[in-house]
């Protein structure tokens, strides 16, 4: 299995993501700069977190219009796995590869803390090593993580089982509708999530709850 990490100016979590992928797959992922119009062949493409283009205009808006995203869209259409974490999730929604949008946190503050996540759908390529209803610990660090979609979209994604992770009752850090923390597209091969599973993969992190996500994706690929 091969992975590629896409990097935009202003991201700051790519090193953690590269370390996690290397540690878990045993191979260094390729690293692709945003200006590239082709992506190397890989089974899993990851957009990590940070603040691409300083969050100018809207979080993820400018990155979502860069050449590499057109290439990513083609890879996703081929059925390759795509994972966006934090700013990566914002970029995937801005690119229209995932439904809805991430708005400013309801409390207006940047939140950096550990939350609890409930696995809502353990049948995706990203979550098959978890169990439905399992509660994970996972860190969040964001200013714009407030998931919003219109009522019809929300009904559709809930009905399709596209909500993969929810903040556990009482731990929603940002006002997301239905406590949504992570979703997949209808085909199930593109996932976005605000929490950072790459920061909980070895005991030195204080836990390994994020590890199974990468193991699932690597095995699926």
């Amino acid at each position: 299995m091969t992975a590629a990490v896409i990097v935009f100016p202003g991201l700051n979590r790519e090193r953690d993501m590269i370390a996690a992928l290397t540690r878990i797959s045993g191979r260094q992922p390729s690293v692709v700069w945003h200006a590239e119009s082709e992506l190397p062949a890989a089974d899993l493409y990851v957009i990590p977190g940070g603040f691409s283009y300083g969050d100018y205009l809207r979080a993820g808006a400018i990155a979502a219009r860069s050449p590499v995203i057109a290439a990513l869209r083609r890879r996703a259409a081929e059925g390759r796995l795509v994972l966006g974490v934090c700013n990566g999730f914002q970029i995937l929604t801005e690119a229209g590869m995932l439904p809805g949008v991430l708005m400013r946190n309801a409390g207006l503050r940047f939140v950096c803390r550990q939350v609890r996540l409930v696995v809502e759908n353990a049948g995706t390529a990203f979550t098959r090593h978890y169990e439905k209803g399992q509660v994970l610990r996972c860190p969040v660090a964001h200013h714009d993580g407030n998931y919003f979609a219109d009522a019809e979209t929300l009904r559709r994604i809930e009905g399709n089982g596209q909500v993969v992770f929810r903040y556990a009752l009482g731990t929603n850090p940002n006002g997301s509708l239905n406590d949504i923390a992570g979703i997949v597209n209808e085909a199930g091969n593109v996932m976005g999530m605000m929490p950072h599973p790459e920061n909980l993969i070895e005991p030195a992190h204080g836990g390994t709850d994020g590890r199974a996500l990468f193991e699932s994706a690597l095995e699926a690929a």
Partner: protein
């Protein structure tokens, strides 16, 4: 040269926590008549040429493709 102003506002029904915070701050300053505040964005755009119909079509495309996220935002274009 054509000068245009694009205004992007949140759709009705979309929660605007920043607008709410501004509303609270205005009330705290003693502006007791403020009933509601919604925050938006303004873009002043200068365009080459003088074809207003073409500019209007281009500006609409700019709004759809980048300036507004039409999941949550509406836009209005004024050409000066």
């Amino acid at each position: 040269m054509i000068r245009a102003r694009v205004t992007v506002t949140l759709k009705n029904g979309v929660l605007d926590p920043q607008g709410k915070a501004i509303e609270g701050a205005l009330s705290a300053l003693g502006f007791g008549d403020v009933a509601a505040v919604r925050q938006g964005k303004v873009f002043d755009i200068e365009m080459e040429g003088s074809d207003r119909a073409r500019a209007a079509a281009e500006l609409k495309a700019m709004c759809e493709k980048l300036l507004a996220n039409t999941v949550i935002e509406d836009y209005a274009v004024e050409i000066g």
